[in-house]
Symmetry: C2
Subunit: 936 residues, 2 copies
Amino acid sequence: MDAENLPVINNYLDAGEARLSRMHFHDNQRKVDYVLAYHYRKRGAHPSHSSPGHALAIVSNGEMGKEPHAGGPGDIELGPLDALEEERKEQREEFEHNLMEAGLELEKDLESKSQGSIFVRIHAPWQVLAREAEFLKIKVPTKKMYEIKSEGCIAKKFNEILQKLSSPLKPRVPEHGNNKMKNLSYPFSREKMYLYNIQDKDTFFDNATRSRIVHEILKRTVCSRANNTMGINSLIANNVYEAAYPLHDGEYDSPGDDMNDRKLLYQEWARYGVFYKFQPIDLIRKYFGEKIGLYFAWLGLYTSFLIPSSIIGVIVFLYGCATIEEDIPSKEMCDQQNAFTMCPLCDKSCDYWNLSSACGTARASHLFDNPATVFFSIFMALWATMFLENWKRLQMRLGYFWDLTGIEEEEERAQEHSRPEYETKVREKMLKESDKSVVQKLGTDMTEREDEDDEDKLTWKDRFPGYLMNFASILFMIALTFSIVFAVIVYRITTAAALSLNKATRSNVRVTVTATAVIINLVVILILDEIYGAVAKWLTKIEVPKTEQTFEERLILKAFLLKFVNAYSPIFYVAFFKGRFVGRPGSYVYVFDGYRMEECAPGGCLMELCIQLSIIMLGKQLIQNNIFEIGVPKLKKLFRKLKDETEPGETDSAHSKHPEQWDLDYSLEPYTGLTPEYMEMIVQFGFVTLFVASFPLAPVFALLNNVIEVRLDAKKFVTELRRPDAVRTKDIGIWFDILSGIGKFSVISNAFVIAITSDFIPRLVYQYSYSHNGTLHGFVNHTLSFFNVSQLKEGTQPENSQFDQEVQFCRFKDYREPPWAPNPYEFSKQYWSVLSARLAFVIIFQNLVMFLSVLVDWMIPDIPTDISDQIKKEKSLLVDFFLKEEHEKLKLMDELDLRSQGAGHQSRRSRAASSAPSGRSQLGSIASSGSQHTNV
Amino acid sequence: MDAENLPVINNYLDAGEARLSRMHFHDNQRKVDYVLAYHYRKRGAHPSHSSPGHALAIVSNGEMGKEPHAGGPGDIELGPLDALEEERKEQREEFEHNLMEAGLELEKDLESKSQGSIFVRIHAPWQVLAREAEFLKIKVPTKKMYEIKSEGCIAKKFNEILQKLSSPLKPRVPEHGNNKMKNLSYPFSREKMYLYNIQDKDTFFDNATRSRIVHEILKRTVCSRANNTMGINSLIANNVYEAAYPLHDGEYDSPGDDMNDRKLLYQEWARYGVFYKFQPIDLIRKYFGEKIGLYFAWLGLYTSFLIPSSIIGVIVFLYGCATIEEDIPSKEMCDQQNAFTMCPLCDKSCDYWNLSSACGTARASHLFDNPATVFFSIFMALWATMFLENWKRLQMRLGYFWDLTGIEEEEERAQEHSRPEYETKVREKMLKESDKSVVQKLGTDMTEREDEDDEDKLTWKDRFPGYLMNFASILFMIALTFSIVFAVIVYRITTAAALSLNKATRSNVRVTVTATAVIINLVVILILDEIYGAVAKWLTKIEVPKTEQTFEERLILKAFLLKFVNAYSPIFYVAFFKGRFVGRPGSYVYVFDGYRMEECAPGGCLMELCIQLSIIMLGKQLIQNNIFEIGVPKLKKLFRKLKDETEPGETDSAHSKHPEQWDLDYSLEPYTGLTPEYMEMIVQFGFVTLFVASFPLAPVFALLNNVIEVRLDAKKFVTELRRPDAVRTKDIGIWFDILSGIGKFSVISNAFVIAITSDFIPRLVYQYSYSHNGTLHGFVNHTLSFFNVSQLKEGTQPENSQFDQEVQFCRFKDYREPPWAPNPYEFSKQYWSVLSARLAFVIIFQNLVMFLSVLVDWMIPDIPTDISDQIKKEKSLLVDFFLKEEHEKLKLMDELDLRSQGAGHQSRRSRAASSAPSGRSQLGSIASSGSQHTNV
């Protein structure tokens, strides 16, 4: 029966003029700026009852409106409705009525069928746009243009060459006007209309701004029936409406030449084919709003900053490769002649072994454990600071070109409304309290209590259970993460012990165990990552934050904390704790009964850290990108398609032939915020900075990932999501704080990695304090302590030693007194001096790098000089502009005075008196202000 | 002859109505908002030539103006003037003409004498005030009032009690309206005049705002004769004018009941008698503007924050006193039975000595070197963070009540004009360049080149010499400071050596030397402090910064750096370097020939640090407060008075009988900025935080000083300085960064003081690793190494030892191997383990305290909750207010439409079309906008 109705509409439309776009009201003139969707269901109605003739009617409050009133009668003849449905219907009617009161124009199809989706299309007429633009202080370009100052001669030429070179990398989007001229912007004001270049009132505000304005009205319109809730979000939360979204600009894959911004974005940005091109940031901002524009600008800057660090990372790695032959300690280790007989790695089943058998790992670890990595980690700490500084500058620059310089944080926040959940909670609280005091209050007026409601808010007492729950849950989650890390350690220890019992597997115990353990870690991280994301959301909901912004901030903090702990705890374990609690031969530390704590490989823990890091980082990126970001959405789409097909296709089948834009957009996924996108990048930023001392290749992998990530995200936004509301924002908010926090933490963590995990300090100390000739010859010998095998505990000796020579002393890696010293096996003086050196290094490194970061921070001004010059110039131009207007006005007024009153001697006086009130009127109303003089 | 003229004016005035205040034009109506003063000199004129009748004439462009025009003829008959004077005169004439063009009204006395001071009084009429207030976006109260939300029930009661208790502490100044109501503020706009409660146009803007507006015009008015310079500052720099200042509100010490704000401030704030009272911050801000208001608010908060830290500091000190008897190490040292024979303190002339003779210093050092100081330094680090956080909050709160929430940093900066020195430099540069290219440019228009001038600015190349000079000078100054510190060290070493030769003086060598050296240090610091202040100013002038703000910032940074190094370098030396380069018996380190490096007293270096710190801090405060802040200004005043009396008193003698307010103010010192006041406090803040671990009494002394300092500064501002221009600012600028920098640095410095300078760590290590019974018994013995006296170098043994027993081994304070060890006198294992512990402590302390600081920073929201709620509420009230206005306007318009055109069916259309332009007019001009419909 659906198929019966819609052709009628289309016929009707065809009868009129051909519609150019599917984004307008049926009068083909008024643009649809916003769509509210809801699903209705009539109980009594039977499909066959409705007459096809009704489908023609379109309810609208514009000139097209031929029906009496939206939500008016029209369905009175129908049977009794479900109570809840009825209530929702009434709420919708009131809400829509209020919207029309606010000046918006609505259009919707009639509820002709027994059930189906109804789209309420909203159009904002010029006077509403103008009024709201004034309230929101939206800056719009004025008539006045000015030249953006170009640099000096040399810089100019250099710039031109750069421009030419990079031209193939530029996306082919039309520039908004001349690049060297900028319109002077001024907050929109209806009193100063003459300032602006208003050629066409329909296109003066672009689509994103229009929908932002409508969204603003939707957010603050009250619906008294629905418990006096404020705004569309509450109504959506209460299922009164199903969805509210602005429309996309058209189809991105439409054939033919008709171009729209969405298609342009798709062709020049949201395809893998254009991965090498710059992003058309201005267009992205124009289409999606400032918030999303800033995300992509940030992502772009981050990716381009990864290029130099990748190059240097590769150079550092190659330096390691090149110097591997010259590294004395690994040569000494590999030298068969230096027969260091090592103590057995496990009790009973393990034998004594020769250090030269660990030659491979020693050589490999030199790749990452060389002086260049110290330099690289200093470089990366400064890189992080530089990146953040440059982001601040880019943010300022974008803010200038996007006219955000006037927005204030507090102002933005002040415009935020409470979340529906918060309001519900407050209402519940008030109800409870009023129940208690119902006896006293029985006589008081209801409206008075409602006033109090507005004043009231959740106190700390009300929130306490939520906070407690949060605290407990987060502690639990962190404990869970730690215990999983511990479980993997136990797995490693026990498996290693089990495998080493078997002779066949003994040879590659370490490789097997490490590999499997890391993979287990990775899988656990990936699973917990998803769980923690959901848990963080749930916990934040329990907390009932007041505004959307606090909700987002709290959610981000919690999710970040949980995901950070989850992703990094196994890495932290390997970096700082593994192999430190082994004890020594003769008094090993045992975990459970008979399982010795695990040690690091002979090459040092750094190698293992590197393996751990690379597998987790790469695995996480590959799997998350492929499965979660590409696979899951496809599956969801498939699933929904299947579901739609199995259900009685009442609404879809017909629409699918000639779907309206709102139908198309309705079938897309709703936009749920940028948090996951940022979170992924932030965790990656952690991988790139926190342990860069141990894995200089991290930036390269991050770079490769991000080149894909940009286009993946772009594609998602352009093709798979409903158009998000254009949100105006000046910065990336809490993410910046998190980034700079990670940057600071990375200094400490790298200091410890170099000092504690790597062999850098012991080598230095040996070279300058113990070595006879200032080289590292003898370093390996120096790091190994002696142990008298006769002192091995009973039952822990190798059972059937096949070692080719008689062993009296075995060696182990530690600085301890030899068995023949007065206090054998105590930490030796070397131990303490090396420890002092390590700690001193941490202090020096940390403070030096922190100081350098502060210096870099201070040296690079937050506002680029050219931008601050421009802002200054703009201000002074504005003052000149106004003063000129003022002067002209005064002149005209004097002339009028002279003409109208003819009394020359009075002109001076009246000028002084009149110019104050006259200022309020524009040039067009001078006549009137002239005649007002008698009143003043 | 002066005496002849002035009485005439006074007679003239007496003939009219009695003048209520000496702050108005001679019409007694128009208020003097600003005064420009200059000194004129006529060459040809002879005293007796001028006729007394002329003195009556007052040049004014208001209604009083009976003379043709300011700077018009009037002095044509006089002889030829000096060329420079003539030029200046013309510049003044043009400038004053331009000011009148801008709408200001001027009044000045005629230049009747051969030379004298002329005061140009400026009055800003209402239309100028209104126009400028709109440009400057000055927020003014609207009619709409709203209640400031009060807290919950308990908090309210608690607050009331607190209010009652503190009422005697409150200054008795009239509150501006009800304390619980606040006017909704909105930037002044002439189109929205109906919003504001304008009862009297003369008093709607308060005096500070009026003078700010005039100052703003003065700053941007161009004088084309004076090389096209912009603003009064350039003219003052070129000696065209001598001074420019707004007027004080009256006399502060006038007898009688007539009250003005200045008198009120004097009585309730700027006297030592009211030292216990809170400061009337709102009144200060009203009178002096936001910048000075913020300074006193900051000083007040700092002082009140010193109270808790003083209390805890005293408790920590008392704890030291109380536990002095229980301190085992000092008891052991004092115990005569533990006969530790110490190695001689100097070569030859010093004898072996018994450690128990140093008992006194050991006991004294316990006062400051006890575990409580560790706690106290953590407390003070958090205190510093808390203070800064609370300052941010107070700043926000004041910003809210002072309606500063709308000001933007960039906006403020953009309104800054270039400094005259910068402009001169640019002009010189352009002249030079045009000289070079004079051949080509000969034909081009002059005005064209002038345009280019404006565009041009100093490049890095032009600035390089300045920067180089700066860099070199600063390096030189720092080197100078260091060498003076070194010179004092040398003084100490040599004097000690000299004194110990003489038996009579030997007993109190240490006291004498330390005391004299510290006093030398103090004197040098005080002298260099003044020199460095001047040098920093000079260096900043060389740098030629562009704006006043950058000038101030650079000056502050340089002055801070120099003064910081100057004040703290001797203290840093004592804290971290003294006694570390002594060497050991048998191989002492010698500075010059035969002078051993100085050691710390046996009680440890902490005691000396404490003495150094307390003397420098107290001395600096006492001397600077008394001499520089009280004495020098008095001397200056005296000197000027003497000078005035000796000079032919042409202008003063008559004025002194009935001086006008501008005469009185002219005789005051000009205001030169807050930098010295802030600097003094910042250096004090450094004393309080940087070494608090060694001197817990520092906060107490700072508190005592500040209680006086507040009133001292207040008195200066109220009675001794010309009224400063009211400068609008949101925050204390770069000082906050410096404060937080000191706060961060104090964490590190305290960590090192505790770890390196104090004996805290060695005691802990001994107690937990070496002690047999877990107590400190034997600690003193443990810290002393043995030395075999036979190994003393030839010629360094005590010459005639009177020590009562045969000495084989003497002891010295260090951890070294004993003479009988295989490697005697090398650092022992204890040394390294203690060093490790020290360094570990630094790392832990630094990171823990930094983490806690970040936590505190994060936990305390920058914007107080009630303020952010209020801001939100204000915004929503504003939107409601406007929407209501809007609605009423629309209604009225509809009615008018119906009435005027009588065509009911058209009303809808015209309403939609008309509401956009109608918005521009206020309610009073509705009729006019109704008639405009035909144009739209």
